[in-house]
């Protein structure tokens, strides 16, 4: 089956920042993304989890964008402007996609 090279960018970020991140992505011309819930995690600022976390304000989400490789830099610049001062992780993976006309 015919596939096409693409980049998969996964941004783990605090839920309160989600709309700011997607706004920034939109501005960077990235209009396709999927948001996954996050149950908990651990990092330099300690461990947390959703049921029983000290504040329900502090949940995180994972925003996944599949994009054409040539648009990666725009996306990362856009995302970075939001993630910069906040906790959060950005990873980029190579992938292949079906139906490239969608991206």
């Amino acid at each position: 089956m015919q596939t096409h090279r693409a980049k998969r960018v996964e941004i783990t970020i605090e839920a309160v920042m989600q709309s700011r991140l997607t706004d920034a992505l939109n501005k960077a011309g990235v209009t396709g993304y999927t948001v996954l819930p996050v149950l908990g995690g651990s990092g330099r600022s300690g461990a947390w989890n959703r049921s029983g976390q000290i504040s329900r304000a502090a949940g995180m989400v994972q925003v996944v964008c599949i994009i054409k490789p040539e648009r990666l830099d725009d996306l990362l610049d856009g995302a970075f402007s939001v993630v910069e001062r906040h906790i959060g992780i950005v990873t980029v993976t190579d992938c292949d996609v079906l139906r490239a006309e969608r991206f």
Binding site: V16, M17, S45, G46, S51, I54, S55
Partner: protein, 327 residues
């Protein structure tokens, strides 16, 4: 004094408080007892809807008090002013940096609606009436504290704060709790006693029971906070978590007397002043002051001040309000 003790003891062995204690104990013992996030949110929606509605019905019944406008104004002023006092106390009592101190201060200007709900529940048990519009005052006190805190930061380190952008402002003003509380208040106001009769077996009779389960969850969350963030609480910080509500309650007392509120109303404005936010303000702080340490303000507000108010504070405020107003 004796009366105060018996009031406190009475308060302490109520199902509501003991549910909270159970939650804290389960958490400290590392039990896996937990209330699903969706259920906890559902319970809080119920509580906000019920308390707002009942407030509105009470205003409909007693007519609009001329003091309503004044009370709202005083609420806004209290919320904006208390962070400045908190900030001052923090600089004297602790070694917190400006940013953390401002973030903590914002929490103490704003309010905890569950503390308010618990207090009004206790007032009702004791048959002490209060102004229905105190619910609207609670809503009015949620947000101004955040602006004060951001102003404190901007005045200080300068570039540190992104300041208050329009989006954040709208988010704070239209956050779910405020909208639901105020909306339910208006619905109660519009439909009055008749509306209440239709739904009272939903929002009145089971209210205290729901509050028990909600406080169980609060206890679980507070206990977990203490277990994980407790180490952060140096003596000075801890003391602040108990002194600040007392100072704020005293100021609230003055405000309540100034407004000429009833005994119950004075109690509630003391409770609002003394209580610290643990939902709306933390969320705003994560957006506006991401560098401030969330463990600090959450542990303090939810792990120290909330339990203090719930167990000792409220009966104390009731007793003082009764003594002062002769109610």
């Amino acid at each position: 004094m004796e009366q105060l003790f018996s009031l406190a003891a009475d308060n302490l062995i109520s199902p509501i408080i003991l549910s909270f204690v159970l939650g804290v104990a389960a958490s400290l013992a590392r039990s896996d007892l937990s209330i699903p996030e969706a259920v906890a949110k559902g319970l809080s929606i119920y509580l906000l809807f019920a308390i707002g509605f009942k407030g509105g019905v009470s205003v409909a019944a007693h007519g609009i008090d001329v003091k309503l406008g004044m009370a709202l104004l005083v609420g806004v002023v209290l919320s904006a002013a208390l962070p400045l006092i908190a900030f001052g106390l923090l600089q004297v009592m602790t070694q917190m940096n400006r940013l953390d101190a401002a973030a903590v201060a914002a929490h103490y200007g704003s309010i905890s609606i569950v503390t308010f709900v618990a207090a009004s529940s206790i007032l009702e048990s004791r048959g002490i009436g209060f102004e229905g519009y105190m619910v609207a005052v609670a809503a009015a006190m949620e947000a101004p504290a955040i602006l004060s805190a951001l102003w404190l930061v901007a005045r200080g380190a300068g570039g540190q704060s992104k300041g208050m952008d329009g989006a954040l402002m709208r988010e704070i003003m239209l956050n779910g709790s405020i909208v639901l509380l105020v909306g339910a208040f208006f619905i109660g106001w519009a439909t009055g006693e008749e509306g209440l009769a239709e739904i009272s077996s939903f929002i009145v009779s089971p209210f205290k029971g729901v509050l028990c389960l909600f406080l169980l969850d609060m206890g679980l969350v507070a206990g977990r906070g203490l277990r994980e963030g407790g180490g952060i609480l140096r003596p000075g910080v801890l003391t602040f978590g108990i002194v600040m509500p007392l100072v704020a309650a005293a100021i609230g007392l003055g405000a309540g007397l100034l407004l000429g509120l009833s005994t119950g109303g004075v109690t509630l404005i003391m409770v609002l002043s003394a209580s610290a936010s643990y939902i709306a303000v933390p969320a705003a702080m994560r957006v506006a002051l991401p560098e401030a340490n969330p463990s600090l303000y959450l542990t303090l507000s939810l792990g120290v001040t909330f339990p203090f108010n719930l167990t000792l504070g409220i009966p104390l405020y009731v007793a003082i309000a009764q003594a002062v107003t002769g109610g």
